[in-house]
């Protein structure tokens, strides 16, 4: 029930804010603040109630949504999605706080769209039904589009449109894959469902898996963004308002990587193995390319945007290393990236509020005027550069160790090694760490150090208490996650172990299996979702999804019987010899003359008919006589 609450609160908030009077801008901001804070505190309850040792899904809730298609509104979180949800709910209030001075036009709509965006993000993170996931995935686009398009600056329409179209193209490819999965699974097991838990219990043929994984991978690669598909990110970031950028960088980018680890890899392990070398290759290129291009930027936001490409390249490298260190590291790096890049965008946003420009040359020597701001900005910059002792280092260290030890057996098992030269790739990725330091110090120096060159910089005021309050949680988290990451890591560990164990089982099953239809694996240990035994008649969904209240609800999904297609019997046409009509001009045989009816008879008949109500007169084919 808790998850439903977390989803409902922002929605209710959005509606409440939308109904407020337009002029009361400050009221709208406060309302937004209240609702985002409420969501955050409720989500804190998630951590409290989260059973650390349980690898499976917790806080599950499933209610049939579209019965005929077998779509259940099935939500649940495990170690993997727990912290991402927390990140989303944490960034909510921070972003709200940062928009107090930043957004002054149409505040009501902004707060509403922000709340809806938060709901959509959390929805996508917790949904365990492919269809529901896809719905939330698409809902996310709308508020983001509005934020960039309406409240952005510069070529905002172009950027917003490009962002939406780019993501949409990807997600449509994914939709095709989802539908194929749905249909093929239904056809094989006669049990049509979008439920992720059930789908992960069956394995598709090798060929199918390669293409399906590719379809999912394209959608998520665009969102990550990975190297060649990243050009929408700089535009979206530079034109988005501060809040938009923070949310976009903080959580939306994680959707791509989350999608990989939740849907793409578990559903198509063999496909993942085939594509792993290419994806990690692109990730490494992305790291170096992102860092280099970031260094060449003249615009602060563009620089940080390209840094995101580089950081998320790390995450993908860790993910594809497919061992415990790598996957845990990538999950952890997702959180770090959310915090550090979110912080960077907040800082640049504050500078934008003061000087209304992102150009690096316009700044310089701000330390003199804004020492407090400079201090906080430095901590965030160092966390992003991966300084040991701060959160960035832990993530990058784990990812690099994971990538480096990839050759010692994938998922700690005897699976074949996917990525050749994993050590070379880890080495090159480590160079990315150095380049990271280069462009971040470049950014920091251009903004903070050096004498004050622009007269306008001379009278900038230091960070207000509101801005300090915005940065405070981030800085506390940076130090906490850097020095004592144990509480975060131990909650991820069981889920990652289960992820890898299942990956091994399913990879072995799908190796060599070239059938078109998916086959089920009884060996998977997800007892809660026992699929009807193959031999048993096709019963409905037996997924006893336990409501949070413990009441077992087995949603009745109607059985869709496949129409029996009878091959048409080919009837050979019998050649009938046409009755040969005598030729020539002879008139047709005279028809038998009809008895002529005298006028008196006619009058009598007419009278009779009138009594019986029938209309007088006689029509008839061919007329009388």
């Amino acid at each position: 029930m808790l998850l439903i609450a977390i989803l409902a609160i922002p929605l209710v908030g959005a509606i409440a804010v939308a109904l407020m009077p337009r002029k009361d801008e400050q009221g709208a901001r406060h309302m937004g603040m209240v609702f985002t804070l409420l969501t955050f505190f409720v989500s804190l309850a998630l951590i409290a109630g989260f059973k650390i040792s349980d690898p499976g899904m917790q806080f599950e809730f499933s209610v049939p949504w579209v019965r005929s298609l077998g779509i259940n509104f099935h939500v649940g979180i495990d170690g993997i999605s727990l912290w991402l949800v927390l990140l989303a709910t944490l960034l909510g209030p921070i972003v709200m706080l940062s928009t107090y001075k930043a957004i002054d036009t149409r505040v009501k709509e902004f707060v509403a769209s922000l709340l809806i965006l938060e709901m959509a993000m959390i929805g996508a993170l917790v949904s365990l039904d492919l269809f529901v996931f896809y719905v939330f995935w698409e809902i996310m686009l709308v508020p983001m589009y509005l934020m960039i398009g309406v409240w952005g600056h510069g070529a905002k329409i172009y950027a917003a449109l490009k962002f939406v179209l780019y993501t949409l193209v990807g997600s449509l490819v994914m939709l095709v894959a989802i539908i194929y999965v749905y249909v093929s699974h239904g056809a094989a097991t006669g049990f049509y469902t979008f439920d992720y838990m059930v789908l992960t219990q069956s394995v598709w043929g090798e060929q199918a898996q390669i293409f399906l994984f590719l379809a999912f991978a394209i959608a998520f690669a665009i969102k990550v963004p990975m190297f060649p598909l990243h050009t929408w990110l700089p535009d979206a970031h530079t034109q988005a308002p501060t809040a938009g950028s923070v949310i976009l960088a903080g959580v939306l980018l994680k959707m791509g990587t989350y999608g990989f680890i939740r849907f793409a890899i578990p559903l198509f392990p063999y496909g993942a193995a085939v594509w792993a070398p290419y994806i990690s290759g692109l990730a490494v290129i992305g790291i170096i390319y992102g860092a280099l291009v970031a260094y060449a930027q003249k615009d602060a936001k563009k620089l940080v945007a390209y840094s995101s490409v580089s950081h998320l390249g790390f995450v993908m490298l860790g993910l594809m290393a497919m061992n415990e260190a790598g996957v845990t590291g990538s999950l952890y790096q997702m959180l770090n990236h959310g915090i550090s890049t979110g912080g960077l965008f907040l800082a640049i946003g504050m500078l934008y509020e003061r000087r209304h420009t992102h150009e690096l040359d316009q700044f310089g020597g701000l330390w003199r005027r804004m020492p407090v701001f400079a201090g906080m900005f430095m901590i965030i910059m160092l966390s992003s550069a991966g300084l040991p002792g701060l959160n960035g280092f832990v993530g990058e260290f784990l990812i690099l160790v994971g990538a480096f030890t990839h050759h010692q057996g994938v998922a700690g098992t005897d699976l074949p090694i996917f990525i050749w030269h994993s050590r070379l790739m880890a080495g090159i990725a480590a160079i990315g760490v150095v380049l990271g330091a280069v462009y971040l110090l470049h950014l920091y120096q251009k903004l903070m150090f050096g004498p004050i060159t622009q007269p306008k910089n001379a009278d900038l005021d230091d960070a207000s208490w509101r801005e300090i309050l915005t940065f405070a949680p981030l800085i506390v988290l940076i130090f906490a996650m850097g020095i004592y990451p144990k509480p975060f890591l131990e909650r991820m560990e069981p889920a990652v172990k289960l992820f890898l164990k299942e990956y091994k089982v399913k990879y072995k099953a799908s190796e060599g299996y070239t059938g078109q239809q998916p086959k089920q694996l009884a060996s998977l240990s997800r007892s809660k979702y026992a699929l009807p035994a193959l031999s048993a008649p096709r019963a409905g969904i037996v997924a006893k999804t336990t409501m949070a209240g413990g009441k077992a609800v087995s949603p009745k999904v109607p059985k869709i019987v496949r129409p029996k297609i009878v091959p048409p019997k080919v009837v050979r046409p019998k050649i009938v010899r046409p009755k040969v009509r005598p030729r020539g001009g002879a008139a047709p045989a005279p028809r038998t003359p009809r008895k002529r009816i005298s006028p008196e008879d006619m009058r009598r008949i007419r009278r009779q008919m009138q009594q019986r109500g029938r209309p007088p007169g006689r029509g008839g084919r061919g007329g009388a006589g």
């Binding site: 060449a296 845990t328 330390w367 040991p388 260290f397 760490v433 050096g450 144990k486």
Partner: protein, 816 residues
């Protein structure tokens, strides 16, 4: 393993001090700031002494055993196979480093209170300084490579902050970005070193599965079968032993941190920071981290003689090159900077030949006299109000008498003139260099000895040149500058005196073997930790490991070499004294004129900075710009993304032409469409063929017997539409219609033309043999089209004699 002492407090105290100063310092008075800062460091010093007492108690000088204090603080990173704990440990090696860091650090903190007295960002400076102390102590105390790396990058950060302390100035006075650039350069060069360091760590982790020193040394102890000795070909280059590759990468990290040959360029620029910073970080503590790391990982390095050779060679080269550059520098701090790089070269030479104790002892003594020199220089600069060019100083011995004395003592020490500490530590290294045999590189000993001696001469020369130009001769300052000279107050003087005294006395701790087997206290003190490597190496690579040659037994040779090095040091000093006694001498002037080329090279630091700029920095900028503009903006964005959008737009515009809005255009289109459809649909059939006796061979003349009834079939293969077709046959090629027979004898060509029958099959009997052409006419009543098909038939008379057909079958005439 004793948990007796919470070691965490040693680094924690300065870190808390740093937090206090950085957060609250701006608001508090200066008294608060420096009492907290200096207090925390002295606190750490007291705790260090306490730890040393415990270590001393547990140390058995004869059996080379010691006690190690451990303090596992908490689990830091644990994800599956990676279990990293945040643990601290203290053994004799750590003890020495702790003492150096805390003792010299405390003195420099005290000195800083005086030096930075009039500085505006007083709290920020002390915050950073405390942060540095905390990080350095973490580095030294860490019990695994990751905690060491944590300290490693921590000190890198602090050096970045402190070098760029005057972030808006170039040098000490005029505004500019130079200091900030110097800080950034230091951090990035360190980061490049750290890159190699982290790769080394991964290689070790991949092999051993843990990064704790205890586990690593246990792995090293496993001898040839151990994980460290497995062969490993990184990136495809030849099979090295794993330990060798890891050691090499770790050493590259050390060169970054301790400013050795490839990555030393940042240290001279680091002089942009305040002088106490240079003293503490860039002389005494941080730069020695590399040497400490190599000493700590001695078990790894002893396994790979080839890498030890590399270490020694790089050390020797750095020593010599830096010393030569030092000759031509005119900035007081630059000379000292290059002297530091040179002395670090000596330390690496020491550890490179397996004499870890000698290396660490040099670190110990160098910390004292180099700190004293830097602080002395600081006092001079402070007195002369930021004047750093020694050619404009001179004759300061009268006004800054205390500074002069301490500076002189330190100069004698560094020049290597007995009985001061410098001589003993440097001579020990040179002696060990020549006396140790490294099987991987037998030529190594003499080469590095010669380089070392050359370096020693230069060191003596430039140190005394510096001393005499600064203090001796007549003062070259203007009158009013001379008036403003004020001697350093007590806070700056006491550290100088203490350090000078240290430089004077500490030689006694490391007396050479000449004075008896156990005379060298330092060697015995460090033996338990440092000599592990030798034992493991003897086990792992019997015969191929680095061993002190038999020469080491004969004291005569040692004595002779000691005398030689003393003579050289004396020679260098006297020459420098004579030349520069009166100030910048004419003789030196024309000497440099004669050797214009080499002097220029030395003065411009062998153009290394410019070389790096050309090879690394400029291409980096260009590639970055290129990638952005060409790959990103042009190829991906413009061509692929915008391109596809433009294609769609183009197609749209193309189709728009047809929407003219004029009804008649649409009607025209309609009519064209109808016409096309009608034309395509209403095609009369035209695939007629005659097949006789269901013989499939089309085209070939048919063989039929006379009197045999021949069946002709005109059904078309695919005729679903049952077209209304009518047929007319002429079997004997006479032009008259034979089938359908006319029911009534109707005369006239017209009737014949009229006769059509719907039957698709017909039959006929040929009376006479011969070749006939069967003609069939087909009419489609619906489309009013007509077609004609022919089929050639040969009718043969069965009972006619067989005539050999020799191509004489004349057409048409049958054979009767």
């Amino acid at each position: 393993m004793k948990e007796s002492f919470p070691l965490i407090w040693i680094p924690l105290l300065p870190l808390l001090g740093a937090a206090f100063n950085l957060l609250l310092g701006r608001k508090l008075s200066r008294r608060w700031v420096h009492t907290v800062a200096v207090g925390t460091v002295f606190g750490s010093l007291v705790m260090t002494l306490f730890v040393l007492r415990q270590l001393y108690a547990g140390w058995d000088s004869h059996h080379h055993t010691m006690v190690t204090l451990h303090h596992a603080v908490f689990d830091w990173i644990n994800a599956g196979a990676v279990q990293i704990k945040f643990g601290l440990m203290a053994d004799t090696l750590t003890g020495v480093m702790l003492f150096i860091v805390t003792f010299v650090g405390a003195l420099i903190h005290l000195y800083s209170t005086g030096y930075m007295d009039h500085e505006r960002d007083y709290a920020r400076f002390f915050g950073y300084l405390n942060l540095f102390m905390g990080a350095m102590l973490l580095l030294v105390l860490g019990d695994n490579l990751v905690v060491l790396f944590l300290g490693w990058e921590g000190v890198g950060l602090c050096s970045y902050l402190l070098i760029g302390f005057w972030y808006d100035k170039s040098g000490t006075q005029k505004l500019g970005l130079e200091n900030a650039n110097a800080g950034r350069k230091a951090f990035i060069v360190n980061r490049i070193g750290d890159l190699a360091f982290i790769i080394g760590m991964f290689i070790l982790f991949a092999a051993v599965g843990s990064l704790d020193f205890a586990d690593l040394s246990a792995a090293a102890a496993q001898g040839p079968q151990g994980p460290l000795m497995s062969s490993y070909a990184p990136f495809g280059f030849g099979p090295f032993s794993l330990a060798g590759v890891a050691a090499l990468f770790l050493f590259i990290g050390a060169t970054g941190k301790s400013a050795q040959i490839p990555l030393y360029v940042w240290l001279p620029d680091a002089m942009a920071g305040p002088t106490p910073v240079s003293a503490l970080i860039h002389a005494a503590t941080m730069v020695t981290a590399g040497v400490y790391m190599v000493a700590r990982m001695n078990f790894l390095y002893m396994l790979t003689p080839s890498v030890m050779a590399v270490v020694a060679l790089v050390g020797a080269l750095t020593a010599f090159v830096a010393a030569t550059i030092g000759l031509a520098q005119n900035d007081i701090k630059k000379v000292l900077a290059y002297s530091t790089v040179s002395q670090l070269g000596y330390m690496f030479m020491g550890v490179g030949v397996g004499a870890y104790a000698a290396g660490i002892f040099h670190v110990f003594t160098h910390a004292f006299f180099k700190a004293c020199l830097f602080l002395g220089a600081g006092a001079v600069i402070h007195a002369l109000h930021h004047e750093q060019d020694i050619r404009r100083m001179g004759g300061l011995k009268s006004s800054l008498s205390v500074t002069r004395l301490t500076f002189l003592v330190a100069t004698i020490a560094i020049a290597g003139i007995p009985p001061l500490s410098g001589f003993f530590s440097k001579d020990e290294i040179l002696w060990k260099a020549i006396s140790t045999a490294n099987p991987a590189a037998p030529w190594l000993g003499p080469v590095i000895y010669v380089l070392g001696m050359a370096g020693a001469i230069c060191t003596a020369f430039y140190m005394f040149r510096l001393y005499t130009l600064t203090f001796e001769g007549k003062c070259r300052l203007s009158a009013e500058e001379q008036a403003k000279i004020h001697p350093p107050d007590w806070r700056m003087a006491t550290p100088l005196v203490v350090l000078a005294f240290g430089a004077l006395v500490l030689g006694v701790l490391g007396l050479p073997g000449l004075f008896g087997e156990h005379a060298n206290f330092f060697h015995n003190w460090l033996a338990p930790t440092v000599d592990q490597g030798a034992k493991f190496a003897a086990l792992a690579i019997p015969g191929a490991h680095v061993t002190p040659a038999i020469l080491s037994k004969s004291h005569g040779a040692e004595g002779g070499l000691m005398a030689l090095s003393f003579a050289i040091a004396l020679l260098g000093s006297v020459i420098a004294w004579r030349v520069y006694n009166k100030g910048p001498s004419v003789w030196a002037r024309n000497l440099t004129d004669r050797f214009r080329g080499p002097y220029n090279a030395i003065y411009n630091k062998y153009f290394v900075d410019e070389f790096y700029f050309l090879v690394v920095i400029w291409p980096f900028k260009k590639i970055a710009w290129l990638l952005w503009k060409v790959v990103d903006a042009l190829i991906i964005d413009l061509l692929c993304v915008r391109g596809s959008a433009r294609i769609v737009d183009l197609m749209g515009r193309l189709v728009r032409q047809f929407q003219t809005g004029s009804v008649q255009h649409y009607l025209a289109g309609l009519l064209v469409g109808v016409g096309v459809i009608l034309y395509v649909v209403a095609q009369p059939p035209d695939d007629f063929r005659i097949r006789a006796n269901s013989i499939k061979a089309a085209g070939a003349p048919l063989k039929v017997l006379v009197g045999e009834r021949v069946f002709f079939d005109a059904r078309r293969p695919v005729d679903k539409a049952m077209r209304a077709l009518e047929y007319k046959w002429d079997f004997d090629g006479d032009g008259k219609v034979d089938e359908p027979q006319a029911p009534t004898q109707q005369k006239g060509q017209k009737e014949q033309a009229q006769r059509w029958s719907k039957r698709q099959m017909a039959n006929f009997i040929y009376k006479k043999p011969g070749r006939y052409r069967v003609v069939m006419d087909v009419r489609d009543t619906r489309w009013h089209t007509q077609a004609r098909e022919t089929q050639v038939i040969d009718v043969i008379d069965p009972n006619a004699p067989k005539v050999p057909v020799s191509g004489s079958s004349t057409h048409g005439k049958g054979v009767h």
